[in-house]
Symmetry: C2
């Protein structure tokens, strides 16, 4: 069977009440589906994307080459089997791929919000998805899966909508964002804000797409460091030069420099700087214990099968952060969880690239042994 | 006895032949000494500084509050006991504290070198020091000690001037700079280069001192991440806010953000951007095996007591990099070395701040048991 990709946008006119007390009204959510919804709507799997991800999680659009960001995991006969499941991935609010974000038009003006856009939280992203699913008449799903910021959303579903999913798989994430992560985000935010071409938020997005935004490229380079690790960089790049004559030139390029430059500057062609600021803010303030007396009180809400997956050399979200969730559940006497620490030298990127190390685990979690 | 700080500058008119094939001519080296040289000149200890360090390693200048960067280790009755030893620390060439660097005047013009300054290597820095010591009629020293880039210099002394020091202590460093470190330096270099106030190298240093250079501040923030660790940041900052009302403000500041901002922007008041570019380049291309067939061939040169000190949670220079040197010496049958892996949660900064964990080791290395 084919993947059956469908991409749709839903428009909402009721206000979305945000955690900050502000509202978003109206708003759009773009989402993509794979596979076919069964009659009793019992085969839904929700996929949550990370910081720079989108609703395009699997397959290839017509006329393009690049597959969706989790294509290795999602598709016919893959771990998230679209022959069996109806898979939905929505673009989070605050992002820049079609859901309402800071560059969307602020109603009733015909001007983008820019810095007038409200601060969005992970809980808000999840709430908006929940409203979309209501509209689609989906009131309970088989599973929710996400990594990194997607894992934060998965955990937020587990705590704020405890009866919505039977199974939740949260990967390479945390219960509360560590200062280490906030620090990397700070470098990126500062680099964007201080770039004169950012024009204090009043940039022309078309100009940035064409000419790049070095501040965001520099911030993304810092991000790429945090996605890898000392070991994985050594394996991937070593001390090789891009050009052999570069040794005594001030900017003779090592492979790793060339990699960062390419990915940094390329990033500015496809991601919006204001979205980057807003989504990193949402990540920074993520803390599942907010609104509860403690993380234990938050974890008491969990009622699904919860699968926690960490990666040994993830230096962004450390494996012990996931273990802390497991230990929290254990100390509450909650047994319906599993914790899996994946051997990988790949750093944080592992959840995206080391599919062969997680696919059987995901399959078993979704389908039972 | 007092520390007896003396700060002096030596001027050299003979050319300094650099590893790149270029020459530096003339050049100055500023250095500082503590303690008193004994009659047979057998009590000299050389201290080598790191990327942003200077010759001011210990004590306090008149009218100032801030001590030298390794004051905890160096002084009367300290591990490097200035009652007993005559301690010399020189500012490396390429730096900005008095030794010749990119903002020095290029002879015979009365204009700074800027980008006309030649690429400097760690070996060049060490060679220049060796020439200074010759001028001071010091032809052999009791010990050389350095951490980070100072440790690279210490290793370069061990290999290129094997009979110059009886004992060498290299801390928190590597035999060849890993791509991880090059990547952090890349973020900083790119941020400096792309800052319009850098003016492609034609900035007015006074203006930068007064107004700051956000590109260098951003790069320094990335540096500060690499000097700490996930764990040490959690201990140091947690998820505390600088202001309690910052949660739903886009730029409400976490303590860690405030720390990075302060240190980043403050840095631009006391360090020169071109020096930062040149010294990070020197670090990037550091590889003790350059010019040899292998690291083993390089290590065959070692003839002193070599002390290798790593820090368990140093994420910039990993402890196994120092262990690789130890293993290299071991496999050559060279027994006159010691390897000490220090327990510390402090990350790379440990060699500067965890003095109590290294002082007895340093003392014993210098004085024998």
């Amino acid at each position: 069977m084919s993947l059956n990709i469908q991409t749709k946008t839903e428009h909402f006119t009721n206000p979305l009440y945000l955690e900050s007390g502000r509202i978003l009204e109206p708003y759009d959510i773009v989402y993509e589906t794979y596979g076919t919804l069964n009659e009793d709507k019992s085969n839904v799997i929700v996929i949550c994307h990370a910081l720079t991800g989108s609703h395009h999680a699997a397959g290839v659009y017509e006329g393009e080459n690049k597959t969706g960001w989790w294509d290795g995991l999602i598709g016919p006969n893959k771990a998230v089997d679209t022959n069996r499941y109806f898979v939905i991935c929505t673009n989070v609010i605050g992002s820049c791929f079609g859901s309402t974000g800071p560059m969307s038009m602020q109603h009733p003006h015909h001007e983008p919000y820019r810095f007038k856009f409200p601060v969005i939280t992970i809980k808000d992203m999840v709430k908006a998805q929940r409203i979309l699913f209501d509209r689609l008449d989906i009131h309970r799903v088989h599973a929710i899966i996400g990594g990194s910021m997607g894992g934060m959303q998965a955990l937020a579903f587990a705590i704020h909508y405890p009866n919505f999913a039977s199974k939740i798989i949260a990967m390479a994430t945390t219960h509360a964002t560590a200062p280490w992560v906030i620090a990397f985000n700070k470098v990126a935010q500062e680099a964007i804000l201080k770039d004169p071409d950012f024009q204090q938020g009043y940039y022309d997005p078309q100009v940035i797409k064409e000419q790049g935004l070095s501040g965001m490229a520099i911030g993304r380079m810092a991000g790429h460091i945090s996605f890898l690790s000392h070991e994985s960089m050594m394996q991937k790049f070593g001390r090789e030069y891009k050009r052999n004559d570069g040794l005594y030139e001030l900017f003779g390029k090592f492979q790793v420099e060339s990699y960062l430059e390419y990915n940094g500057y390329n990033f500015t062609k496809w991601f919006d700087p204001l979205s980057y600021l807003y989504i990193t803010k949402a990540i920074n303030i993520f803390d599942i214990s907010r609104g509860f007396d403690s993380i234990g009180e938050a974890l008491k809400k969990v009622a699904c099968e919860l699968y926690l997956v960490s990666f040994k050399n993830d230096i962004l979200f450390r494996n012990y952060e996931m273990r802390e969730i497991a230990e929290g559940l254990e100390s509450l006497g909650y047994k319906n969880y599993d914790y899996f620490d994946v051997e990988s030298d790949y750093g944080h990127d592992a959840f995206l690239v080391e599919i062969d190390k997680i696919e059987s685990y995901v399959k078993e979690a979704l389908n039972g042994k």
